[in-house]
C-alpha cells in the first residue's frame, strides 16, 4: 500500500510557472566542477573551496582585498581614450569603447589608487580584463606611468597587477609605444630605489608581458595563471604541434626562472606586506637597534 495517495490526476506545472534558481546565487568551478554558493565563493576571495582554482577578478575586488578597510584614493579616474586613428574594424573604435564602458562601468582597462596595506602606504595599478580583454592602449599606459610617478613623488612602493591579452590593436602605433612609456617610468622608479612588485594574474600575455609585467624587482603570480609573450594558439600554429600540458602556466614560468614566487590570493596581502616590511629603509622603526651614543649598531 502506497504511503501517499494521489487525489487529483494529471498534476503538471506549466513551464512558465516553474521556479528557477536566480542567476548569481551559485558558483560552479570551471576546473573541478564543485558547486558552492556565491557568498561562500566571494568569502573565499573567488578561489574554489575545493581545488583552489583562482577565478578571474577585477580592480574592484583586488583593491578591496589589499587596501585596509577598502579605503583608497583613486588616481586619474577620469582619463578616457581618444580615437587618434579613426579606427574602424567591424565597428568604430569609439562605439566599442562606449559600449564597453556601459557594460562594465569602467573607464578603461586599468585603475590606479593609493592607500595603506596593513598600515604601509602603497600605490597600486590594477588591470581589468573585462574591458576589451584588458588591452593596453594610451589610457592604460598613461595611467600606469602616472601611478609610477605618484609612487616616486610620495616615495611609496608600487604594485602592478596585470591581467591582459596584450596591446590594443585599435590604437596601433600608440599602444605599442605604451610599452616604452611604462618601461621608461619604471627605469626612473628603479633609479629612485623604490620597490616595484609585479603581480601577474590570469592571463598576462603579449605586450604587457614584454614590458611592465616582467620588470618587477619581484615578479610574482597567482597559481595557474596563463603567462606568456605569444598566445598559445599562435605558438601552436608556428610549431605545428600540440603544446605540453601546463605550458605557460605560472608554475611553468616559475620553473623556468622568471617568477620569484607564486602566491595564493588568500595570502596575497600578508605576503606582500611581509616582503615590503623587509625592504623598509633601516631608519624606520629600528630605533631599538641604535646604541647609546646614537650611532646605528651593526646588524649581523
Amino acid at each position: 500500500m502506497p504511503w501517499f495517495k494521489r487525489v487529483e490526476k494529471g498534476i503538471h506545472t506549466p513551464t512558465e510557472e516553474k521556479k528557477e534558481t536566480p542567476d548569481g546565487l551559485w558558483y560552479k568551478c570551471p576546473d573541478c566542477k564543485t558547486v558552492t554558493s556565491m557568498v561562500e565563493h566571494r568569502k573565499n576571495l573567488s578561489t574554489c573551496v575545493k581545488c583552489n582554482y583562482h577565478d578571474r577578478i577585477g580592480s574592484r575586488e583586488y583593491f578591496a582585498i589589499l587596501f585596509d578597510d577598502n579605503q583608497f584614493t583613486e588616481l586619474d579616474a577620469d582619463l578616457v581614450s581618444g580615437d587618434p586613428l579613426n579606427f574602424t574594424d567591424t565597428k568604430p573604435y569609439p562605439q566599442r569603447i562606449a559600449a564597453t564602458q556601459k557594460a562594465t562601468g569602467l573607464k578603461d582597462a586599468v585603475r590606479s589608487a593609493y592607500g595603506t596595506m596593513n598600515g604601509q602606504p602603497i600605490t597600486i595599478s590594477c588591470m581589468d580584463f573585462s574591458f576589451i580583454g584588458g588591452s593596453m592602449g594610451s589610457v592604460v599606459g598613461e595611467k600606469i606611468a602616472r601611478a609610477i610617478d605618484h609612487a616616486r613623488e610620495t616615495r611609496t612602493p608600487f604594485l602592478m597587477i596585470s591581467k591582459s591579452g596584450g596591446a590594443r590593436m585599435m590604437e596601433a602605433g600608440f599602444s605599442l609605444m605604451q610599452m616604452a612609456k611604462t618601461a621608461a617610468r619604471l627605469a626612473l622608479l628603479a633609479e629612485d630605489k623604490l620597490p616595484y612588485i609585479s603581480l601577474l594574474t590570469d592571463p598576462t600575455t603579449g605586450g604587457v608581458t614584454a614590458s611592465y609585467a616582467m620588470l618587477g624587482d619581484f615578479n610574482i603570480a597567482e597559481p595557474g595563471a596563463l603567462i606568456g609573450f605569444a598566445g598559445p594558439r599562435v605558438i601552436k600554429e608556428t610549431i605545428g604541434k600540440d603544446l605540453p600540458k601546463g605550458f605557460q602556466s605560472a608554475e611553468f614560468v616559475l620553473e623556468h626562472g622568471f617568477l620569484d614566487f607564486i602566491v595564493d590570493r588568500k595570502e596575497l596581502k600578508q605576503q606582500l606586506s611581509d616582503l615590503l616590511a623587509m625592504l623598509r629603509p633601516e631608519s624606520d622603526g629600528k630605533d631599538n637597534l641604535k646604541s647609546k651614543n646614537g650611532k646605528a649598531a651593526k646588524v649581523s
Partner: protein, 316 residues
C-alpha cells in the same frame, strides 16, 4: 621578382631595352623615341610611388631584393667586426651586431637579419629573434656604453619568434628588459626601421634618441595579416587592416611616434642600393653629430620624455 605595381614599369623598361637594341642592330636613329619613353617611365614611376597604398608599402618593405641589415652595415662601414653570442644560451643568427668604423668613428651596429634564399632564411629564422637575440643585443649595447661608443640599431623583423623554446627562455622578459635598459644608456642611440617593424620584436631594439624610418617601411603593434585575422577573423582583410593601422613612415611621423623619415631612391631602396647606403650613412653621421653635443644625462632625460609623451588620452 616583381610586385603588381612594379609590372607596368618593368614592361616599359623592357620596351626601352628592346628599342635600344633595335637601334644598335639596325642603325636607325631612335633617340627621340628613346627620350620620350624614358620620360614616360620616369613619370609613371613618380606617379606610382607617390600614390602607393599602405598595403603596397608593406609589400615594398618586404621586397626580397631589399637590402638587409648586414648589407647596410657592410655598405656603410669601412671595417666591421661582427660579435656573437649572449654569453648564456647561444648565438641568435636572427640578430646580428658588432663594431664598425664609419669615417674614423667607431659605432656599435645591431639589427635583425633576414635571409635571401631558403637556406639563409631558415638560418636567420626569417629575422625573428629568440630571447638570446635580444640578450645579445643588450650585451653589445652595454659594451658600447662601457667604451663610450654610440649605438645604431637597424630594425627589420616580422616579430619576435613565437616559439616554444622562446617562451621557455623568457621572450617577454628579454624584450621588457631591453626597453628599460635602453632608456638608461649613456651613449647616443639611433634606431632606424629599414624594412618591417613588427610590434615588441621591433621595439626591443628601438628605444633611441632618434627613431627614423626609411620611406617604404612599416612600424606598428601588429602586422596587417595578423590584425586582419584577429579583428576580422579572416586573413582576407589585410589591405583594410593596413589602412586602419596607419603604419607607414608618413603616418608614424604624423602621429609623432618617430622622429623622421629617410628618403629612398625612386622605386625603393632595392632599385639603387648604393644611393640608399650613401644617404643612410650621411644621415647617421649628421644625427650623431647632433646627439654627441648633448650632455649624457640630458640625453637620457630627453629620450624618456619623448616616449613619455606618446599616446592620446582625454580628461573627461
Amino acid at each position: 621578382m616583381l610586385l603588381d605595381f612594379e609590372q607596368p614599369i618593368a614592361a616599359l623598361e623592357g620596351k626601352l631595352q628592346d628599342m635600344k637594341q633595335l637601334a644598335t642592330d639596325s642603325q636607325v636613329d631612335v633617340s627621340e623615341a628613346v627620350k620620350a619613353l624614358e620620360e614616360k617611365i620616369k613619370n609613371l614611376k613618380k606617379e606610382t610611388y607617390a600614390n602607393l597604398t599602405r598595403w603596397q608599402r608593406v609589400q615594398l618593405s618586404r621586397h626580397p631584393e631589399r637590402p638587409y641589415t648586414l648589407d647596410y652595415i657592410h655598405g656603410i662601414t669601412d671595417k666591421f667586426i661582427e660579435l656573437h653570442g649572449d654569453r648564456t644560451v647561444g648565438d641568435d643568427n636572427a640578430m646580428v651586431g658588432g663594431f664598425g668604423e664609419v669615417d674614423g668613428r667607431s659605432i656599435m651596429f645591431i639589427g635583425q637579419q633576414k635571409g635571401r634564399n631558403t637556406k639563409q632564411r631558415q638560418m636567420r629564422n626569417f629575422g625573428m629573434a629568440n630571447p638570446e637575440g635580444y640578450r645579445k643585443a643588450l650585451r653589445l649595447m652595454k659594451m658600447a656604453e662601457k667604451f663610450n661608443k654610440p649605438i645604431v640599431t637597424l630594425i627589420d623583423t616580422p616579430g619576435a619568434f613565437p616559439g616554444l623554446e622562446a617562451e621557455e627562455r623568457g621572450q617577454g622578459e628579454a624584450i621588457a628588459r631591453n626597453l628599460k635598459e635602453m632608456f638608461m644608456l649613456k651613449v647616443p642611440v639611433i634606431c632606424i626601421i629599414i624594412g618591417e617593424g613588427a610590434s615588441g620584436g621591433a621595439l626591443g631594439i628601438a628605444i633611441g634618441d632618434r627613431v627614423m624610418m626609411l620611406e617604404n617601411t612599416w612600424y606598428s603593434v601588429i602586422s596587417p595579416e595578423s590584425c586582419s585575422s584577429i579583428l576580422w577573423r579572416s586573413w582576407n582583410y589585410k589591405e583594410q587592416a593596413a589602412e586602419a593601422l596607419k603604419l607607414t613612415a608618413r603616418d608614424m611621423l604624423q602621429q609623432q611616434l618617430i622622429d623622421g623619415i629617410i628618403k629612398e631612391p625612386l622605386g625603393g631602396a632595392h632599385t639603387e642600393p648604393e644611393k640608399m647606403m650613401h644617404s643612410l650613412k650621411k644621415k647617421i653621421i649628421k644625427l650623431l653629430d647632433e646627439l654627441e653635443s648633448v650632455d649624457a644625462r640630458e640625453r637620457i632625460m630627453q629620450r624618456i620624455d619623448k616616449f613619455s609623451n606618446m599616446g592620446v588620452v582625454l580628461e573627461s
